[in-house]
Symmetry: C2
Subunit: 222 residues, 2 copies
DNA sequence: GGTATAAATGACTCAGCAGTCACTTTTGTC
DNA sequence: GACAAAAGTGACTGCTGAGTCATTTATACC
């Protein structure tokens, strides 16, 4: 068999190397167009939510025609999924428990790393991503699932490991945090809900609330 | 001027006493019909959210015709508001700080009252009401506002008063809870978000989480 | 410049659904 | 039973917006 036929491959849909000699626009330009659509969609979804965002508006914002969006995404749902998944990658909170110095207390380590991340949550629209996942979570269980797997679970695991270490070293006097790592993380989700859904007018300072929680969990009386 | 004219009063729209001699169905039956619409709407909104609920379906579920709903509620939004407001009244969590026994510690009082309420949150669909308020909050700021005013703020105030009392009596060794009553309440909202939006498969026990928080905040080392 | 291929367009189709309204039924009053 | 007034009906209207597709434009290769 010779390498003829099998030519009508749409590049948009497959990302393998072009075996057949290419025609049309460069893959770079295609990628840029795709990205501009995703960016516009993100902005629209953040502003208006899934149901109230129209493909027409996304197209206008991206500076392309409506029909083009359907070349890149088979349906509105697919666009939404792509947008959120891209953002979830960035939402990942970085607390690498392996980086704790040998003689550093768990509490100090958390203050040095996690607290900083938390203060940054409200910037970089991480909280808004969480808001979106929450708001559309019941319509898109798959997305909530991804968020849980990629953002929440790793965080829970790290806290659990740290808590176990702190328990062993005697830094923690009880098993509460080992048993339920959500104890430490609860203020994050509570803060997001309060600030983004329930009381935009009087937002709580999530970083501050989290530090208080750290104080309370590590039983420090000031 | 004599009391003639001004007769075409639709009873549905005004709830004053019937000055003019009444015709048509009894106010009781009218109220029942209205209630059956609200009940059906609640169920539908809980199942599918605002955008995915159709008036047609609500009507079918209530066993009435579509048009009738518009006799009772001017628009879909108005129906939603009515439904949620009715439920918010029931969502009110009962922790009357005046009922604390003179020599009862604040912690004991909270365990006796609030913890019980919290364990009951997941029953009676209070958590589902919260879920709805959160999910539709950005589309209905007015409803989030009502929820905040009628459910959250009173709770915050009570916790603050109790915390102040505990601080005076020496039961609390720091000002954290006085400064930010959300510290105690955070697990509630976090729990709702986790259970209703992010991880339906592995729900946390909100009551348990809340008790842990109580332990931590009141610095009890078991 | 000619040609093949893919990108891009936007007018159009079609479905769903909020809200309307002319009509029917029920209820109470005399 | 006759009437008036309100409750209740459901076919219909009009609009919005997702998704399609025939056509046009851009790009690459010869």
């Amino acid at each position: 068999m010779h390498k003829s036929t099998q030519s009508a491959a749409t590049r948009v849909l497959e990302n393998d190397q072009p075996v057949v000699r290419r025609r049309g626009a460069s893959p770079e330009k295609t990628a840029l167009t795709r990205q501009s659509i995703v960016d516009a969609a993100l902005a629209e979804f953040l502003e208006k939510g899934f149901a109230n965002t129209t493909i027409e508006t996304v197209a206008k914002r991206a500076g392309v025609a409506k029909g083009l969006i359907y070349r890149y995404f088979v349906a509105k749902e697919a666009l939404f999924s792509a947008v959120v998944q891209q953002e979830i990658v960035n939402a990942h909170i970085d607390v690498d428990d392996a980086k704790r110095a040998p003689n550093e207390s768990v509490e100090d380590f958390l203050r040095r790393t996690l607290v900083v991340s938390i203060y940054a949550i409200e910037k970089k629209s991480r909280a808004d991503i969480a808001r979106m996942v929450i708001a559309e979570g019941s319509r898109f269980p798959a997305i909530a699932e991804i968020y849980r797997r990629d953002v929440i679970d790793p965080l829970l695991q790290k806290v659990k490991r740290l808590a176990t270490a702190a328990r062993k070293s005697g830094e923690l006097e009880n098993d509460r945090l080992v048993k339920n790592p959500y104890l430490l993380l609860a203020p994050i989700w509570a803060g997001i809900v309060i600030n983004k859904f329930l009381d935009r007018a009087h937002p709580v300072n999530i970083g501050e609330l989290f530090e208080m929680q750290l104080d309370a969990v590590f039983a420090k009386a000031p």
